[in-house]
Symmetry: C2
């Protein structure tokens, strides 16, 4: 694990690292925000999974989370959204390939050599974080935006022992039933739609039932990608399964980080409260 | 004036415009944040001048100012840092030419055709803003970062009737006596150093004396460009002239926006308080 950059920020440090990943078969970058409280004690941590075309810097620069993380004593973990590099498969389209890992383990060529984001996040990166940073492993949450909201919800439902709180901004709620998901799942996983269901938040809630005392989701009503996201399906399955869900719709807000930053403090407080409950 | 983009943000709007500029001889972009209070009443406004290599988006994305601007009811104005375009003179170096306007009117070729940033800011852009937005013209402040801190201090001292409050992050305090300034002033203004003094904050305070009830400056002590900035010279001339100065030094902080965002709320409150005094 090599430190590439560090910048003092709100009496803590914003850092960028690279690590060698067995699952991704290459070098992976991630950012971490370390609040001042981490000098004295172990802190809760929140993984933030970013959306299509983003990388490990996007959330760090655009979400405006460090101020509240510093106040609450939260470590923020910001992985890249896919494997990267000249030897890594890619596509000219922005919604598949590099920058579009979808937080799953792919099964088809040319993707499966490097695109094993699910195992990278929940095994390699998770273990590196706990080993190298003052993180209280009993208090780790996960959140995400858009494709990363899909990642946060699906990984939370698959690994509830790893992530004790979950929230999302404008998540893709039913990846197996939207154009983005249908495109990448066909390429990454093949045509067996039963396999797709393992990477679909609505299907996972249907299968596993209620797992969290609450889930916070914010959704803008001027979101240009609204038809890809389908929060109504998540609301329906949560009601059916008795999973508490705080789903907030916001007039005028679109899909970008000017929306995310407007409500990021609420999400950080949500995780803080649930992780300390 | 054309609206290029708008994004709802903290119950207000972050917008990007382009306008045709006579002084810059071309199209100039700027960003504006409109807080929710502007729907009902005229608001104070703060011009934010960005540093080398920045453009009209940099401060909007990286400074994390919208949250507090929304709370206080401040309009934020974020111009580009120079004229732009294929027909505009440029240089391979990042510290001269496009992205490095230094907020002055240049006098030498090939620069003087387009590089008239001082007049663009204080005449054209200022007038456009007052004409088109609900700005209280008696309550306009100016702030900036690095080269933009130099711009904020020099324009405040040259146009105290336009800007009633001034602050800066890591400003170039004596542009005529540092490597960055010596390089660009030679190219932009020629070798007569008496002319340079008209664009040097320390020299302007020396010449004009005390003009503001206070000036807020934050400076990181891990700033990689510290030797270009010379806050001690500003402190000395302010003491000599009886100009109140709140100059805060901060251990560990460097020159970038992770530093700026850590103290931006203090600056916005400073302007709010002085503009409403």
């Amino acid at each position: 694990m090599n430190l590439l950059q560090k910048n003092y920020c709100f009496a803590g440090e914003q850092r960028t690292y690279e690590m060698s990943s067995v699952y991704l078969q290459g070098i992976a970058k991630f950012s971490v925000y370390i609040p001042p409280q981490a000098e004295k004690e172990k802190c809760p941590a929140i993984f933030f999974l970013a959306g299509l075309t983003s990388n490990e810097e996007t959330f760090a620069i655009k979400a405006h989370a460090q101020n509240m993380a510093s106040q609450l004593g939260l470590i923020l973990v910001m992985p890249d959204t896919s494997p990267r590099g000249e030897s890594v498969a890619d596509d000219e389209a922005w919604d598949i390939g590099q920058g579009a890992g979808f937080y799953i383990n792919t099964q088809q060529m040319p993707w499966k050599t490097h695109f094993q984001m699910e195992s990278y996040i929940v095994e390699e990166l998770y273990a590196q974080l706990i080993k190298n940073f003052p993180i209280d492993a009993r208090r780790i949450g996960i959140m995400g935006h858009s494709m990363g909201g899909h990642g946060a919800l699906t990984l939370a439902w698959k690994y509830p022992n790893l992530f004790r709180s979950v929230s999302a901004f404008a998540p893709i709620c039913a990846a197996s039933e939207c154009p983005w998901g249908e495109k990448v799942f066909s390429a990454y996983l093949g045509e067996d739609k039963d396999i797709w269901k393992n990477h679909d938040a609505v299907a996972l809630v249907e299968k596993q039932g209620a797992l969290f005392s609450d889930v916070l989701i914010d959704q803008g009503l001027a979101d240009q990608f609204y038809s890809q996201l389908q929060p109504e399906k998540l609301k329906a399955v949560c009601e059916k399964k008795g999973q508490p869900l705080t789903l907030r719709f916001h007039d005028h807000y679109d899909h970008g980080y000017y929306f995310v930053q407007s409500f990021i403090d609420d999400h950080l407080k949500f995780h803080f409260n649930h992780l300390n409950a």
